[in-house]
Each structure stands twice: as structure tokens, then as C-alpha cells.
Symmetry: C2
Subunit: 117 residues, 2 copies
């Protein structure tokens, strides 16, 4: 009953989810902190709106990619990676790394550098 994620590519992370997980790799964070960290890690390119953030958090909790952390605070709710979350994040990271390597082989970065001259 109600198994979410019925698609075969479902262990692939969307960009917002990837960056949320990245922000949690080193420490547990609360929502607003995640927002700021993602913006920082993406050089200001990715700004998560509240809807994206809390919607994603809700789904990630359901999927057990994250759990509520131990930090106690009245207003804030902290989240941290689960083993599953870290594992799936690692897979995606490896995939990005491969894509970057392929781009390197195709010499795409050289063209990129030229474009900035």
C-alpha cells in the first residue's frame, strides 16, 4: 500500500535533494541552515524556496535518507544523514564525478576556459 517512487530511475537525486544531502554530509543542520549552506555551496546559484526545502525534507524523511538529529532546540528541527542517505548521496557524487571526467576526456573544460579569456 502506497509505495512511493514507482519509477526505475527513482534512486537518482534531483539537484535540490543532492545539495541538501551535501550540506548534511559533515554535520546536522536545521532547515534554514540547510537553505543558507546550499546557497553557499552552489556559489549563490541555487536558492531553495521554502516550498522546495520543506517539501524535499518531508520526502527525504519518508524515504529514510535523513532522520531528525539529536540537537535540542525549541524552534529549530535538526536533520542528519542516515546510512542510506549517505550511500545514495555517494552514488550520485560518483556519477557527477564520472560526468566531469567524461567532459574532461572530451576536452570540454579547455573550451570552457577559453570562453573566459
Amino acid at each position: 500500500m502506497s509505495k512511493r517512487k514507482q519509477f526505475s530511475n527513482s534512486n537518482l537525486l534531483t539537484l535540490p535533494v543532492f545539495y541538501i544531502l551535501l550540506s548534511l554530509t559533515t554535520q546536522e543542520r536545521h532547515g534554514y541552515d540547510i537553505m543558507k549552506q546550499v546557497e553557499h555551496d552552489s556559489n549563490g546559484k541555487i536558492k531553495l524556496g521554502a516550498g522546495t526545502l520543506y517539501g524535499a525534507i518531508k520526502r527525504m524523511l519518508e524515504d529514510k535518507l535523513i532522520v531528525e538529529g539529536s540537537s535540542e532546540h525549541a524552534r529549530r528541527r535538526y536533520y542528519k544523514l542516515t546510512e542510506k542517505g549517505r550511500s545514495i548521496f555517494n552514488n550520485q557524487l560518483e556519477r557527477y564525478n564520472q560526468a566531469v571526467e567524461i567532459a574532461r576526456q572530451k576536452n570540454l573544460f579547455a573550451k570552457l576556459a577559453l570562453a573566459y579569456v
Copy 2:
């Protein structure tokens, strides 16, 4: 007047679109060829269904990320990158590269390597 893409993060590429563009960086390809190349480039991890592929192609044509290529063939329709498509792809590639670099700084790859021992 119908201006599609009213969201501010709309220049961020989804994973399927990124891989489609990657497959087109070196040569023009037809749809089925793109499908196979994406599967190859992702080590078999990403399998685009027909719906994903042709839906994405349609949108990418509208957004002028790709155009129909020059190769003539009765059955096949070839597509190639536009300057805009290449530019936006490069941005995303740079972003992935940064994410990978951040992960490297956080020593996440070391942990990743350990997990494979």
C-alpha cells in the same frame, strides 16, 4: 504570449537534460542514439524512457538549447547543441565540478573509497 519557465531556478538542468546535452557535445545525434549514449555515459545507471527523451527534446527545442542538425535521413531526426545550449551545459558542468571539489575538500571520496574495500 506564453513565456514558459516562469521559475527563477529554471536555468538549472535536470539530470536527464544534462546527460542529453552531454551526449551532444561532440557530435549531433538522433533520439535513439542519444538514449544509448546516455546509458553508456552513465555506466548504465540512467535509462531514458521514450517519454522522458522525446518530451525533453521537445522542450529543449522550444528553449533553443538544441536545433535540428544537418544530417539527412528518412527515419532519423538529428539534433545538435546551440551556443545557448552549450553555454548552459557548461554552467551546469562547472557546478557539478564544484560540488565534486567541495566533496573532495570534505574528504567524502576517501570515505567512499573505504566503503569499497
